[in-house]
C-alpha cells in the first residue's frame, strides 16, 4: 500500500509550540536551597523525566534565565515535587519571578535539605551528578537519594492549562 506524501507547511515557532501543546505532562516543582542564605528556591518544570531505575536517576531541564538556575550549581541536591491537583496556585507562585515565592508555601527539608512542599502528590530528593549545558537550557541529571509518594491525584498540564489528574477517563477495551 502506498501513502501520499506529507503536505508540510513552513516551520514556525508557533507550529513548534503547537506540537508541544499536544503533549500532556504533570507539573513538577524543582526546589533547592540558596547556596548563600539557605532560603528555599524553586521553579516549575514540566521538562522532567525518569532516566533509569537502576541506578534510580532522573533528568530535569532548566532555562538559564530562571532565577533559581544558579542555585542548582551551588548546591549538590535538588528535590522534584510532583504537584497535586489542588496545587495549581502553588504552581503559579513558583512560576513567577517574585523574590519571595515561598512566602505562602509550606515546606519541610528532605534529608539533604531540599525543600519538600506540603501537599505534593509525590516527591524525591536527588544528588546532582551531571550538568549538561545546551544553548538556552541545562539538563540536570541526578541520582535519587530519598523518595515518597501519596495517593493524592496529580496536577496535569496541557495546552497552557491545568487539569485535575483525579478525573481522568480510562479508556475501556474495544469490543
Amino acid at each position: 500500500m502506498t501513502t501520499p506524501s506529507l503536505e508540510i507547511e513552513p516551520m514556525t515557532a508557533e507550529r513548534v509550540k503547537g506540537f508541544h501543546r499536544t503533549f500532556v505532562t504533570g507539573v513538577t516543582a524543582v526546589t533547592t536551597r540558596d547556596g548563600a542564605t539557605e532560603e528555599p528556591r524553586g521553579l516549575v518544570v514540566n521538562a522532567f523525566s525518569a532516566l533509569s531505575l537502576d541506578p534510580p536517576s532522573i533528568v530535569v531541564c532548566v532555562q538559564k534565565t530562571s532565577t533559581s538556575y544558579r542555585h542548582l550549581f551551588a548546591r549538590d541536591h535538588l528535590a522534584v515535587n510532583i504537584l497535586a491537583a489542588d496545587q495549581a496556585e502553588v504552581a503559579s507562585q513558583l512560576a513567577s519571578k517574585a523574590p519571595d515565592k515561598f512566602t505562602h508555601i509550606r515546606w519541610r527539608p528532605a534529608p539533604a535539605g531540599s525543600p519538600v512542599l506540603d501537599g505534593a502528590a509525590a516527591w524525591l530528593e536527588a544528588r546532582i551528578t551531571e550538568r549538561i549545558q545546551s544553548s538556552t537550557h541545562t539538563m540536570f541529571i541526578a541520582e535519587v537519594t530519598a523518595v515518597d509518594h501519596s495517593d493524592r491525584a496529580p496536577l496535569l498540564y496541557a495546552s497552557g492549562r491545568f487539569y485535575d489528574g483525579g478525573h481522568l477517563t480510562e479508556l475501556g477495551e474495544k469490543d
Binding site: Y69, F73, A74, I128, E130, R131, I132, Q133, S134, S135
Partner: protein, 148 residues
C-alpha cells in the same frame, strides 16, 4: 640567550600573569604577532586575547595557582608542562559558581623567535575544566562563548 634563561623568563612571566594577574608581564615573552591555537578549538587568540582569557580565568577562580612542572627546550621550540588548581567562585564559560575545587593539567608547545614566543599550541580546552565537576557543554552551548 641561554636555554635556561628562556625557560626561567617564561616561568616567571607565567607566574606573574596567571598567579598574580599581572598579565602585562606576558609582553616580556610573547611576540607582538603571537598566535595561540588549540588542538581542539579552531579559534586563534592573539596576545591581548590571551591577557583577557587570563583575567576571565582569574575572575572565575580567584585563588587560581598555575605551576610550570617542566620545560623542555629545543633550538627554537619550547614545551611547557603545567598544572592549575583553584576554586570556582565566579561565573565561568556561562556556568554559575559551584564553590568546588578544580585541578587541571596540560601542555603548551611553543615556537621561539628572537627569544619571544611567536606561536603556541595548547593541548586542552579551557571549557573542559568544568567537566571534572560533571558539567559538560554541548556544541550549542559553546557557539556564543568568547575565547572560553
Amino acid at each position: 640567550m641561554a636555554a635556561e634563561t628562556m625557560s626561567a623568563r617564561i616561568a616567571d612571566a607565567w607566574e606573574q600573569a596567571w598567579n598574580h594577574g599581572e598579565v602585562d608581564a606576558l609582553d616580556e615573552v610573547l611576540a607582538v604577532d603571537y598566535r595561540r591555537t588549540s588542538l581542539i578549538d579552531p579559534r586563534v587568540l592573539d596576545r591581548e586575547d590571551m591577557k583577557r582569557t587570563i583575567r576571565q580565568m582569574r575572575a572565575s577562580f580567584p585563588d587560581l595557582i598555575t605551576r610550570v612542572d617542566q620545560c623542555i627546550e629545543g633550538p627554537d621550540t619550547l614545551a611547557i608542562l603545567w598544572r592549575s588548581s583553584g576554586t570556582h567562585l565566579g561565573e565561568f564559560a556561562d556556568v554559575p559558581p559551584t564553590g568546588k575545587r578544580i585541578e587541571v593539567a596540560g601542555a603548551s608547545f611553543c615556537r621561539i623567535k628572537n627569544s619571544l614566543i611567536t606561536d603556541e599550541v595548547e593541548t586542552w580546552d579551557p571549557r573542559d575544566i568544568l567537566a571534572t565537576l560533571g558539567i559538560h557543554s554541548l556544541r550549542s552551548a559553546r557557539e556564543n562563548q568568547e575565547f572560553l
